[in-house]
């Protein structure tokens, strides 16, 4: 393992320090935490705060999405490990401007439990907190025999839609209702070409052969649903789209937003080729893609691969929310 780092135990604090040094116009670090809040205090006045976070290793998520029109604050846990309740609570306090705080959580037991504990702490201080648990990864069966589906890259669409609504003055209850409506319309599926190496572990979480890929891998290297020989981009696109089609039963004339997300080590060149194949296939099905985003948005350290998210724009306001102005490190739009 070669990684640009110093002591692996300090990789998260050093990363957070780098973020704040590089982008003081966007972020402020809360004292004694790895929680980052918007530099622009005024943009939060009188609005519900929106926070998110989780383990580190998914950069630019989540701090890269903190700013006007999106998150109020983000909390960075250790690599692939939920942040602790005290840190989440610090973010809640910083994000609260009298209207309460909405938390966007990815469905992992650690995240759910630690954010829940933080909510308990906040409620003891009379801060109103509501939350949504995003579970967009269709690779995992959605049965009572699991913890439910995992929350992965589609979460950034939730950040964007909720962030836009909060910026426009939606109440905490309205955000909770909106999030519940949006949630079943965001679905994601990934393919991995290589495993990610957690700095403190020093070797990949899983190993694929030189000609092997794995469908359905999670953002911490959780196993997927099938390994097979490497396929052309076009075939990868078909496989992943077929899975999404089986979920959405999409039809000619349907409207979607599309996210092609690089897992960390896959160059943009490959992501654009993949996007091309995906969009051609969707066009053949006469599905409308009204919004597209391509790039490393919610990564898995140095994993090679991509994930594909479709967000069914069942309500035209959701497209407006995606197009709403935003000013963060990783997503800026006029």
């Amino acid at each position: 393992m070669k990684k640009i780092m110093n002591d692996p135990e300090n990789i998260v604090p050093e990363m957070v320090a780098g973020l704040v040094q590089a982008y003081p116009q966007h972020l402020k670090q809360l004292p004694d935490t790895e929680a980052l809040v918007r530099h622009d205090e005024a943009s939060m006045a009188g609005k519900v705060g929106v926070i998110s976070g989780g383990g580190s290793g998914h950069e630019p998520a989540h701090a890269g999405f903190v700013g006007p029109g999106m998150l109020s604050a983000a909390v960075a846990g250790q690599v692939f490990t939920s942040p602790t309740p005290d840190q989440i609570y610090a973010a809640i306090k910083a994000a609260d401007h009298g209207k309460g705080v909405f938390m966007i959580i990815k469905n992992y037991s650690g995240d759910v439990m630690n954010f829940d504990m933080a909510k308990d702490l906040a409620e003891m201080d009379d801060i109103a907190v509501k939350s949504i648990v995003v579970d967009d990864d269709i690779a995992v069966e959605n049965s009572t025999f699991t913890q439910g589906r995992r929350g992965v890259a589609g979460t950034i669409f939730m950040h964007k839609v909720i962030g836009a609504a909060a910026d426009q003055g939606a109440s905490l209850d309205e955000l909770a209702t909106l999030a519940q409506k949006v949630k079943p319309n965001i679905k994601t599926i990934a393919v991995a070409l290589s495993g990610a190496t957690v700095p403190e572990v020093g070797k990949p979480g899983f190993i694929l052969a030189d000609d092997e890929i794995e469908y359905g891998v999670g953002i911490h290297g959780e196993p997927g649903y099938r390994k097979e020989k490497m396929q052309p981009a076009n075939a990868l696109a078909s496989e992943l789209l077929n899975r999404l089609k089986a979920e959405f039963h999409y039809q000619a004339g349907d409207h979607f937003a599309l996210l092609v997300n690089g897992m960390g080590a896959t160059p943009l060149m490959e992501q654009y080729v993949f996007t091309h194949n995906v969009m051609d296939q969707l066009a053949a099905d006469k599905v409308n893609i009204d919004f597209t985003k391509v790039g490393n948005n919610l990564t898995s350290l140095d994993m090679a691969g991509v994930s594909l998210t479709l967000f069914k724009l069942a309500d035209s306001k959701w497209l407006q929310a995606l197009q709403y102005p935003v000013d963060t490190i990783a997503w800026t739009q006029k």
């Binding site: 383990g55 846990g77 250790q78 690599v79 692939f80 490990t81 939920s82 942040p83 602790t84 309740p85 005290d86 840190q87 992992y108 037991s109 650690g110 439990m113 630690n114 829940d116 504990m117 995992v140 069966e141 009572t144 025999f145 699991t146 913890q147 995992r150 957690v198 403190e200 572990v201 979480g205 899983f206 999670g218 911490h220 290297g221 959780e222 196993p223």
Partner: protein, 195 residues
């Protein structure tokens, strides 16, 4: 069979040392069915417990358990941080009323179940805590109980926690949280509190 400030400190010092020693093994157990960090998570917690006990120098059992809980809650992260943290927090609360080991462990288990809503048979640390509590309440807690409980998680299919995402493939692997809980109770027994 009661916890005291002294045996609790011995207990946790022992646990912290084992965790540091078994850090790589625990993360390795977490690799096929999880995200490979359980050992690193707990090692941060173990170091934090040592530092906090050193710094706070608690003078009664409740203070000690609370110090331990807060160290876990603020340093471990992940599922196990919230779970172990809640367990020790509930034990601290209960210790204001009783220091009886079975009652304290039962309070810890209740905390874990409140936080994670897992029952037995779901391949989690609950599968070690629950039989240990039952045995302690019956006055029959010994190393065999602990070891059997840990081993039993091997053949279970996970339906809670990250391992549940692996589905059937979780069968055949020990649950990392069960193994670390096994260390916790092994160290407890070493203090002689059950004698």
């Amino acid at each position: 069979m009661a916890l005291t400030l002294e045996n609790t400190l011995n207990w946790l010092h022992g646990f912290d040392q084992v965790i540091e020693a078994k850090k790589a093994y625990l993360s390795q157990l977490d690799t096929p069915i999880g995200d490979g960090d359980h050992g690193n998570n707990l090692a941060r917690g173990a170091a934090a417990i040592e530092a906090a006990l050193e710094k706070n120098k608690p003078t009664d059992l409740t203070a000690a358990l609370k110090t331990i809980a807060m160290a876990l809650v603020s340093k471990v992260g992940g599922a196990s941080g919230a779970l172990y943290g809640t367990a020790f927090l509930e034990m601290a609360k209960t210790s204001q009323k009783t220091q009886a080991l079975p009652d304290l462990l039962a309070a810890g288990l209740a905390g874990i179940q409140k936080r994670g809503s897992a029952t037995t048979g779901e391949k989690t640390m609950v599968d070690v805590w629950a039989p240990v509590v039952t045995a302690a309440q019956a006055g029959e807690l010994d190393q065999a109980v602990v070891d059997q409980a840990v081993q039993a998680t091997k053949e279970m299919q996970a339906t809670k926690g990250r391992a549940s995402y692996v589905g059937e493939k979780s069968v055949g692997h020990l649950d990392p949280g069960a193994v670390s809980s096994g260390y916790l109770f092994t160290e407890l027994l070493k203090t002689g509190v059950d004698k």
